[in-house]
């Protein structure tokens, strides 16, 4: 690079204005190239994301049933669909189920993931192999994980019930997913299983980035393992932990397939999370206007999270 610049030096006087002009037109041309390069992806996302979102909103303020879809005869109905959804007990029930599902999943995914990260940050034989094996659980299609847990939690032949019997807790063994009082914990357990490896992986990366000399210094100063965890690891991990929890919140709140295959929302609505509720209105009852309104309401929580997330990124100057 620098060699080329030197070779051009004799022509400096003539070249100067020339390069300025060329530089500017180059910049313009490059900006244009930038738009050209962005266009395909932006048009694509415009058609498959922005337009559907706008369309969803449009639908939500109209009275649309499946028949009206074909005739195009839509009645503007203002906030009626929102009123109708929000006045439905089933909606608020789904909100509660979603909150419990999300909070329960997040808490255990994070604590178990953190404990495992603390274990796997140490160097010991086969650590890499075990870690990779666990990650497979997270990459499996959610439908497969759901199917597996249906089988694991089955009444008679389920492996978990058999384990309970082996350790003498026979009284706890039963068909988790068909009992309304244990179905939600069962679904949460499956989702914890899915999420633990991801939490472990990200927290592990965070742990590995902590400067080891901090620990050495603390050890020399006589800090025990517990003190080192409390005064070095925990404070240093706060930013990573916040990112992991935020991502976990977003991913968990929109979980559909896992619950769908495990229980389909039953028994008696005990596991009907918000995405399942939206699905049933739109694709089972074909009340498209109400479904769209419920869908828009489903966006509220991710949107709040997004605002927090974007603000945080802005503050860090990452974007």
């Amino acid at each position: 690079m620098s060699l080329q610049v030197k070779a051009r030096e004799p022509l400096k006087a003539v070249e100067k204005t020339e390069t300025v002009r060329r530089g500017r037109s180059l910049a313009v041309r490059r900006t244009r190239a930038g738009y050209v390069m962005s266009a395909p992806a932006l048009l694509f996302l415009g058609a498959t994301m922005l337009f559907p979102l706008a369309y969803n909103f449009w639908t939500s303020v109209h009275d649309v049933a499946i028949g009206d879809l074909l005739t195009g005869d839509w009645q503007f109905s203002g906030a009626d669909n929102y009123d109708s959804v929000a006045s439905e007990g089933a909606f608020w029930h789904a909100v509660r189920v979603s909150l419990v599902f999300t909070a329960g999943s997040l808490f255990f995914q994070f604590t178990i993931g953190f404990a495992l990260a603390l274990l796997f940050v140490k160097t010991f034989p086969l650590a890499g192999l075990f870690r990779s094996l666990m990650l497979v659980a997270w990459l499996l299609p959610p439908i497969v994980s759901g199917t597996l847990f249906r089988w694991m939690l089955d009444a008679d032949a389920g492996a978990y019930n058999e384990l309970l019997r082996l350790v003498g807790l026979d009284s706890l063994a039963h068909n988790w997913l068909t009992d309304p009082s244990t179905a939600l914990p069962g679904v949460i357990a499956a989702n914890i299983w899915v999420g633990v490896p991801f939490n472990m992986l990200l927290l592990l990366v965070g742990l590995q980035s902590i400067d080891p000399t901090l620990y050495e210094a603390a050890e020399i100063d006589g800090a025990g393992p517990w003190q080192r965890l409390r005064h070095i690891t925990v404070p240093m991990m706060k930013p990573v932990a916040a990112a992991v929890l935020l991502l976990g919140l977003i991913y968990t709140f929109k979980v559909f397939d896992l619950v769908f295959v495990l229980t389909g929302g039953g028994p008696v609505d005990s596991t009907r999370v918000l995405p399942l509720y939206v699905y049933e209105i739109a694709f089972k009852l074909f009340q498209l206007g109400r479904g769209a309104a419920a869908g828009t309401l489903l966006l509220v929580i991710p949107l709040i999270v997004a605002i927090v997330y974007v603000r945080r990124l802005r503050k860090e100057g990452a974007t």
Binding site: S38, A41, M49, L133, V144, Y215, F256, L313
Partner: protein
Amino acid sequence: MTRTKRPWLLTLVAGVITAFFLLPLYWMIATSLKKPDQVLVSPPQWIPSPFTGDSYSRALDKPMLGQALLNSVAISLGVVALTLLLAVPLTYAVARIRMRGSGAMVLSLLVAQLLPSIVLAAPLFIVLRQVELTNTLIGLVIADTTLTLPFAVIVLRPLVRAMPVEVVEAALVDGCGLPGVLWRVVLPVMRPGLIAIGGFSFLLGWGEFVFGITLNSDPKVQPVTVLLNTFVGQTGTDWGPLMAVATLVSIPVVCVFAMLQRYIVGGLTAGSVKS
């Protein structure tokens, strides 16, 4: 980190935890290899004896399974191709070219990842029906790519940004046009990211379900995840063949992960924690 005393003790602890954690996977494979009359016995057999491929042959007898597996392969490969095709130029533009609105673009891509696919499903159905792409594999490729594309740009962007300006400038000065620069200079730099995104897109296309069930009602073009779900719903679930199908669906996941592990883990952590 600090020195580890007694590393083998840690190996033992980690091994026990991993084994317990992977029990569902073991149970899936073990069940798939049992004889039909051994599947539901109580107490269950922890190790299938004798091993038999009976469940597999019964699973493969099911109509549509072969077709559904092929559909999923086609969809996944399509998602990989379309994602890379759209993501690479956009990434370069937002990472390297000064233009108005690129900051907003990156922010919207971050936010796009938060959308629940069920909210997109109904309007996407209507959009795709307009262009007669419902009940086609292409329609599903398009729908799935909405999920991979924003993530791809977010993972790839730091790689392009980390590339020294001089390299691109030099190539441009040398008379290499922008397409040439992209092909010869930028793409090689993106390689690890492209492999990560390729692997990730494949896995996402392979495991996607919401669009599969909402956009394609014709079983001939449904992915294997939807077929798996219909097997589960049947009364008196036939667990042997079902676990055989689940195992078959898991095999590509394990293969792709084993091959691309380094890239996928690196790409995912980079894209998730820091952007």
